[in-house]
């Protein structure tokens, strides 16, 4: 797990998304009694961009937008990669 606190997740943005949203990291409180998915987190951060254009990783592993999120997870939203 990425962070230790109960009922919390960390959301991290990268590159153009970080600049467009105006923040890098946020700690969000989540309800342990409700199943949370990456899609829900995307909605929680009020991001208007098409989510299809982004890659998401949970605890440094790339996952689908409908993957489940657990307390303590680190969720990273990333634009397409342009290295090499």
């Amino acid at each position: 797990m990425g962070i230790e606190s109960c009922n919390k997740i960390k959301v991290i943005l990268f590159a153009s998304l970080e600049e467009d949203m105006g923040w890098k990291e946020k700690i969000l409180r989540i309800d342990n009694n409700v199943e949370m998915k990456v899609n829900s987190i995307w909605d929680l951060i009020n991001c208007d961009f098409p989510k299809e254009n982004f890659i998401v990783a949970v605890n440094d592993e790339i996952v689908d937008m409908d993957s489940s999120i657990n307390t303590g997870d680190e969720v990273a939203f990333m634009p397409i990669f342009t290295g090499g």
């Binding site: 990268f14 440094d60 990333m78 990669f81 342009t82």
Partner: protein, 150 residues
């Protein structure tokens, strides 16, 4: 699997690709060696003169993905040595971004994995490029096409 046959580093400072290759080749005795050096173009994606290129990465995840991918290739292919250097930070026109060298028993294997691993670094590892010109900056929106099917 022999971990010593995989070497990769993410560098915050510029490097001399020929010196790095020379040092690496001294300990890699295979007969077929392929080398790729990628450098910063002097213009941005819109054709403007480029002042500098900035590369950022997802620290931790980037290293994890590269290591796992290279180890998987090493498991599949005997007698293969892989050497990968990739810059982050500010890089100036004509400075090296990436050095990739592959050593194998045959040219086909060396050339194949050079291309495969290079495309992996472009599309599957969390690096991002931002181009700085003399009037502003812009994120690189997509990689240049390979030009043929792998």
């Amino acid at each position: 699997m022999d971990n010593s046959k995989i070497q990769f580093r993410i560098l915050e400072e510029t490097f001399n690709p020929y010196k790095e290759f020379e040092l690496w080749e001294k300990v890699n005795k295979n007969s077929a060696n392929s080398l790729f050096i990628g450098r910063v173009r002097p213009f941005d994606q819109y054709g403007n003169d480029l002042k500098k290129l900035e590369i950022i990465h997802n620290k931790g995840m980037t290293e994890k993905y590269i290591k796992r991918y290279l180890m998987n290739i090493s498991k599949k292919q005997d007698n293969l040595s892989i050497f990968l250097l990739h810059r982050i930070g500010f890089i100036y026109p004509n400075e090296p971004i990436i050095l990739l060298a592959i050593s194998a028993n045959h040219r086909g294997i060396a050339n194949k994995y050079l291309q495969v691993i290079l495309e992996f670094t472009k599309y599957s590892v969390p690096f991002w490029k931002k181009e700085w010109t003399f009037i502003g900056s812009s994120w690189v929106k997509k990689n240049t096409d390979l030009g043929f099917e792998l």
